[in-house]
Symmetry: C2
Subunit: 266 residues, 2 copies
């Protein structure tokens, strides 16, 4: 039997420059490719985010909200997907240059959502890629949706879904902060890192946020992490860590100690 795959999510903020539209952070992409190559994991699925490639266009054309019957918006969908395809090309090129058997698998062509949630996924190409030793590279993408016409599928939802479907050993979420904080570490110096967290604690934190209808005090991190709940519920642990810091991706893939937030079922 094949070993269980690791699902590695790399946030868009790590591999693009947030302030500059359509600008990849090539040094970061290359460094991470090098670390993945060094880690030499036998079964690996990678999902990356959109950062400054996907988000500005998706926002401009309200892709997430669905099709509202205007041709201009359809062209915006085409452009959003194409921007993501281009970022993905840069990532896959770097991985192949580092001798990784990377194969691009755009979600648009194999996933359909229903009201924004993954409803259908064609597993066979992914299964065969993993069996043969390839590393499928997916990404947050503009996808077709059976209720909305189209929408945005986030890389976080996709990573959790793939972890479930392929019975992953664990999920490694590489973001641009050290993990989940009690407040937004980018604006609040009293924020402290949550090093370990059980699922029921995570849900409790989320419920409080939703209950009082405030913005996510953690700077959006909790909302992102909550996407992982279905996978964690099935016993797949998730480690949130800073992929912008050298060596972290390598260490996390090798199972070595890394500063971050480890979330487990119980």
């Amino acid at each position: 039997m094949s070993p269980k795959p690791i699902v590695l999510k790399i946030g868009g903020s790590v591999i693009t420059w947030k302030e500059k539209s359509f600008t990849a952070n090539l040094p970061a992409i290359n460094r991470i490719a090098e670390e993945i190559s060094q880690a030499n994991v036998s079964q690996l699925i990678i999902v990356h985010g959109g950062g400054s490639f996907g988000h500005p266009l998706a926002k401009q054309y309200s892709i997430k909200e669905g099709y509202r019957g205007e041709r201009a918006q359809l062209l915006g969908f085409s452009k959003t997907h194409q921007a993501m395809v281009y970022l993905n090309k840069l990532v896959v090129d770097a991985l192949i240059q580092h001798n990784i058997l990377a194969v691009a698998v755009p979600p648009l062509s194999c996933v359909v959502t229903k009201s924004g949630r993954i409803a259908t996924i064609m597993k066979e190409p992914l299964t065969r890629l993993l069996q043969t030793g390839f590393v499928p590279i997916l990404f947050g993408d503009a996808v077709l949706d059976s209720d909305l016409g189209f929408t945005i599928l986030s890389g976080d939802q996709l990573a959790a879904s793939l972890a479930l479907q392929f019975n992953a050993e664990r999920i490694v979420m590489g973001v641009d902060v050290d993990g989940l904080f009690t407040a937004d570490p980018k604006s609040d110096s009293s924020a402290s890192l949550v090093k370990q967290c059980r699922l029921h604690e995570l849900k409790e934190m989320h419920k409080q946020i939703k209950g009082v209808n405030v913005t996510d005090v953690t700077g959006g991190m909790l909302g992102k992490i909550i996407e992982l709940t279905p996978a964690i519920e099935k016993g797949i642990p998730a480690l949130i860590m800073n992929a912008a810091k050298p060596e972290n991706v390598y260490k996390a893939l090798r199972g070595e100690r890394v500063i971050g937030t480890l979330i487990q079922k119980s």
Copy 2:
């Protein structure tokens, strides 16, 4: 009910420079994008070939013949697919620039073959793209194969299969010669163009070639066209014409007269 789609295949030799590896013929790509935009077809599926992007790598690593258990060949598969993704990006960019609602759909992520023939295809994203008014752009690709591990899926086989699956109105095959000739027009000046051809005549010609085990005297064109047989058999006519000549793609899509070979069931 939606109108039936036209399937347009553009040969790799039309959009790349055959003699120069990984070199796109950008003027040709832009001209064809302009013609497709002008033709303004409401339901359209485009398939393009690999030309000097896909073929050299596929040949170097014997991708078509299947996986023979060597890691170097797996990296060759990754490189072959990635080269095709890059050519596709250039094509889709040009189409979007010409206001066409183009969306890239790489076959690797939604088609699995069995001994080189299409066995499974995820239709739902394609169906939804067409319903919403998008133009799916597919291509000859390195794909997973249930017998061979992997192989090459030709753009010709794919175009015929899509025509069948989506009940196409007709197939337009854009190549770099005027159509099917009685001999290879590139080397034999006595070659004459076959303007019309019934399916049984095409099969007879092909049987003769296979029967005497000679190379395809038509310069490989007959072998390519024979891929279209299953679609033609179901009553979908196919026009083979020269997409390297300006206006031909426009005229063919509009249903106007074009020099070429029209193949019909009977």
